[in-house]
């Protein structure tokens, strides 16, 4: 069979090139001296320094990071609860509807999610006076609503494969269900919680459309700043920012991957 595999690997090679060459070019041209992104004029790190002086962008980045971290934490809690319900509760009343509500935000076009949540927040403010204005809270709520579905998918997979004999042993020894969950189940699914948290964090950090709808006038997130400067044309500062994000994500994913690997080997070995 093996001599037939080269066409497949050619496709795979071209596929990876398609996925990675644009990002690679972005990184290379972030070190370009020229303002023209497409003409190479010598090596320079000046766009990184310009980025550090761009207070508007730094403020937006800080707001985005705070929203992303809060979102990831809440999404991991609610998403894990949902995954637990799906894996362990069997057929409960309204299960089909529950699953439907949980998966729909995964594919729902962002413009619909953003518009509908904004209209909800406006209506709620009229009825009960909360949320007062829009900003950090409303963006975080909106992000949790779609992030928790991703967390649920990740945690569900892990819970489904989990060996339950340890939990049963602890129960037999008289541990209360809550304690069993805290001391045995959670540590066992911790890698999934970590990857769910990171996934929710990046999803939030990346969102332009939903945040644009539910943000107030005073709250500008990083993607909004990037979007408005991209609309003005290509800017080497955005290349520098992209490089920082790519390096950060690369390191985070590698560390998380190694951690997961170490754990799963320790667990199985």
């Amino acid at each position: 069979m093996h001599h037939r595999r080269w066409p497949l690997f050619t496709v795979l090679g071209f596929g990876y090139a398609f996925l990675y060459v644009p990002v690679l070019l972005l990184v290379i041209y972030s070190f370009n001296e020229s303002r023209l992104v497409t003409v190479w004029a010598g090596f320079s790190t000046k766009w990184y320094w310009a980025l550090l002086e761009n207070q508007h962008l730094l403020d937006a980045a800080w707001l985005s990071i705070r929203i992303a971290a809060t979102n990831a934490t809440v999404a991991v809690i609610v998403g894990t609860l949902a995954a637990n319900a799906l894996v362990r509760r069997g057929h409960f009343w309204g299960r089909a509807g529950f699953e439907l509500m949980l998966t729909a935000p995964l594919v729902m076009p962002e413009v619909i999610v953003g518009l509908s949540l904004l209209l909800l927040f406006v209506a709620m403010e009229q009825w009960i006076g909360w949320p007062e204005g829009r900003g950090f809270t409303t963006i975080t709520i909106a992000h949790v609503t779609f992030s928790m579905a991703y967390v649920a998918v990740v945690v569900k997979a892990r819970l489904g494969q989990m060996d339950r004999s340890l939990e049963e042993a602890a129960m037999d020894l008289g541990a209360r269900p809550f304690k069993v969950y805290l001391r045995i189940t959670l540590p066992l699914i911790a890698p999934a919680l970590l990857s769910g948290w990171l996934l929710a964090f990046t999803l939030s950090l990346d969102d332009l459309v939903v945040a644009s709808f539910v943000a107030g006038p005073g709250s500008t997130t990083l993607p909004m700043v990037v979007y408005s400067s991209v609309r003005m044309g290509v800017s080497p500062q955005i290349n520098a920012l992209a490089t920082i994000i790519v390096v950060f994500v690369g390191v985070a994913v590698t560390v998380a991957g190694l951690a997961l690997r170490g754990r799963s080997q320790a667990g199985s070995g």
Partner: protein, 318 residues
């Protein structure tokens, strides 16, 4: 329940019974916070908003804060006035411009789903049949771009596709073309951007499906003298159908409503629903019309979404 109910007309009583019944059901959920908390969150922040969108799609735009007329109000003599305005929905339905945007969105989503499938299937197949120790790394390489910013990956294509961009410079240097190609701000650029951004969503479910496939079936077919292309068509392809449907819907549904890619890479002619909704909302401040577009888009997506749910369950049942 035991308190004697005051005599009341049958309608409200039945209604009250329904509510009491539902409340009882809800009380049964209390010991199950893992069901109750996510369900409550999703009802409040995902289902309820749609009802409000539906309601506002039938309001009229107004120069007020918020910019639409209330759907119902108490008139001075205590009569509840309800004004339903179907103008917006009818306008979106009958106006050629909106219709063109809807049709174009479906067309873009269809073409891109097909392209993702044609590129993604061989890639998923190659990964699924690779030696087991290499699979994790290969799969990681598919997921990794998904973790970096979507907006920035779309931005990368502006620098590549624009007239004085990297692709044109490269082709000119090769001598393949004499004058730069106009790709940016065309439908072609939208296709490239969408396929680039959504390819991982196609590959992952296909891989999950193909990796679980029983390869001994193919060996059995080969032993019985079945040639590889035929074995692929008769065995592999039908067995991977759930993965194909799941991946296709994961691409198709969000692309129909995509905003960022047509906005940054598309031209004035690449009308898409997501962009239209954005313009009505942010540009024209017409919230009712934007809501009407959202409702019609939602109705359009119900069928592919239900199909996805069905096949997803089949995929999990396998």
């Amino acid at each position: 329940m035991s308190a004697p109910a005051p005599p009341s007309p049958p309608g409200p009583a039945a209604n009250g019974g329904g509510i009491r019944h539902s409340l009882q059901r809800l009380r049964h959920l209390l010991p199950y916070p893992d069901i109750a908390i996510p369900a409550l969150w999703l009802v409040l922040f995902f289902v309820l908003p749609f009802i409000i969108v539906l309601q506002i799609s039938m309001a009229e735009p107004a120069l007020a804060q918020p910019p639409y007329t209330p759907l119902w109000q108490w008139a001075t003599d205590g009569v509840l006035q309800i004004r339903l305005n179907l103008q917006n929905v009818l306008l979106v339905w009958s106006d050629d411009l909106y219709l063109a945007a809807f049709l174009n969105s479906l067309w873009v989503a269809f073409v891109c789903t097909l392209l993702c499938l044609l590129i993604g299937y061989p890639m998923a197949y190659a990964i699924a049949t690779a030696p087991e120790r290499r699979r994790v790394a290969l799969l990681m390489l598919i997921i990794l771009p998904f973790w970096t910013s979507f907006l920035i990956r779309v931005y990368a294509w502006i620098g590549i596709l624009k007239p004085e961009g990297l692709l044109n410079n490269f082709l000119l240097w090769l001598g393949l073309i004499d004058t730069p190609l106009a790709i940016l701000h065309t439908q072609t650029a939208v296709f490239i951007g969408v396929v680039y951004s959504y390819l991982p969503f196609m590959i992952l479910p296909l891989y999950a499906n193909l990796a679980r496939m029983d390869l001994t079936l193919l060996e059995a077919a080969a032993d019985l003298g079945c040639r590889a292309p035929r074995a692929f068509l008769r065995i592999t392809l039908p067995l991977s159908l759930p993965g194909i449907v799941a991946g296709s819907m994961l691409v198709f549904i969000p692309v129909v409503g995509e905003f960022v890619i047509p906005d940054l890479l598309g031209g004035p002619d690449s009308l898409m629903v997501g962009r239209m909704l954005w313009t009505e909302f942010f540009g024209n401040k017409d919230w009712p019309l934007a809501s009407a577009i959202a409702i019609l888009l939602l109705i359009l997506l119900v069928v592919p979404f239900v199909a996805m749910q069905r096949w997803q369950q089949r995929l999990e049942a396998d």
